[in-house]
């Protein structure tokens, strides 16, 4: 449900930048979506195809990269990549708990990042 207002914000952002750059048409939008953001890529595509009619982005594709959260050391704040499976909470919790100790010697992590929705770039003509 909230994807409609987010998709509208994506389209507004894209059109604003396209007009500033005086482009004729937008071919693709490169988006980064946090895997924890609660924003569903299929839903974005569905709404985008409904609301882009009659705009510079009418034929644009959404290229969506899902950004996973990282593991942050609770003692020193250092961050590490770890295998995050959005669908299997038991699996990522086990992964988080079985990470090697941090460079600072501590071994207690929490999640960091993996939220938000960013328009990185656009393919235009």
């Amino acid at each position: 449900m909230h994807e409609l207002s987010i998709t509208q914000a994506i389209l507004d952002t894209a059109l604003r930048h396209a007009e500033q750059a005086h482009v004729k048409t937008i071919r693709a939008l490169d988006l980064r979506v946090g895997a924890l953001s609660g924003i569903v890529p299929d839903s974005l595509r569905f709404y985008f195809d409904l609301i882009n009619k009659g705009t510079l982005a009418e034929d644009a594709r959404l290229e969506i990269e899902l950004v996973p959260p990282r593991a942050r050391c609770r003692a020193c704040g250092a961050e590490y990549d770890f295998p995050f499976e959005a669908d299997v909470a038991e699996a990522w919790l086990a992964q988080l708990e079985s990470l090697e100790p941090c460079a600072c010697g501590q071994r207690a992590y929490e999640l960091s990042g993996g939220t938000g929705c960013y328009l990185d770039s656009m393919d235009v003509e």
Binding site: A21, S37, G38, A108, E110, Y118, V124
Partner: protein, 223 residues
């Protein structure tokens, strides 16, 4: 075909309005954004908080629901100024709705502004309402797996209230597992188990509010 860089937060419109909300609310009022699934006890927590802090701290409340003014009526019965926002199907509150509600509240006579978000552990996450702190309310009847299933809500919280503690003897729920999951997602969140029904644990929650208000006012006077 050419590629042009943009690098924009697509929710910047909401974030910008949230910053305006912070300015209008000012440095004397603590703003809390309460997030939970439906039925966790947000409104009851507000009722208990209002009753317990009466004569000490002045509350103002913004209620968010898809429909009805039922919650606003409950809060108003506590003698607390309240504005009801009906989202008419919208699954979360946005900063612009808070901005529209602010003129209807006596902020000059308030110490704590509590925003009760729409009951939903997913959609409100990405929408900053201009709050100083986010509080997730979970309850034992929801089971101990909600933090793992809805990590983003818990990740963004400064405090987690675990309500319905009085029902613990009747439920197959592990408080240890619940707390361990919350800590794995967010080690900085203060976890406060309590029962709005019996009042057990409520004092820790009230102390947390008092401390958060004090911290904000000290920050405000320094800046």
């Amino acid at each position: 075909m050419t590629r042009i860089p943009v690098i924009a937060n697509v929710l910047e419109y909401n974030t910008a309005v949230a910053a305006d909300v912070r300015k209008i609310v000012g440095s004397r009022v603590l703003t809390l954004n309460l997030i939970s699934s439906p039925g966790a006890g947000k409104t009851t927590l507000i009722e208990r908080t209002a009753a317990a802090l009466k004569g000490e701290l002045r509350l103002a409340v913004i209620e968010g629901d898809l429909a009805t003014t039922l919650d606003a009526a409950r809060v108003a019965a506590q003698g607390v100024p309240v504005v009801q926002i009906n989202t008419n199907g919208g699954c979360h509150l946005e900063a612009r709705q808070i901005m529209a509600a602010l003129p209807q509240l006596p902020l000059g006579d308030a110490d704590v502004l509590i925003i009760e978000n729409v009951g939903n552990l997913v959609c409100p996450v990405e929408f900053d309402l201009g709050e100083d702190a986010r509080v997730v309310v979970t309850s034992l009847t929801e089971g101990d797996d909600k933090p793992l299933k809805y990590p983003a809500s818990f990740m963004a919280a400064q405090a987690v209230v675990v309500n319905k503690l009085d029902l613990a003897p009747y439920l197959p729920v592990s408080m240890d597992r619940l707390c361990q999951s919350i800590t794995a997602i967010n080690g900085r969140a203060k976890i406060m188990p309590l029962s709005c029904a019996t009042g057990e644990g409520l004092e820790a929650w009230l102390d947390w509010i008092r401390a958060a208000l004090r911290a904000k006012r000290e920050r405000g006077s320094l800046s």
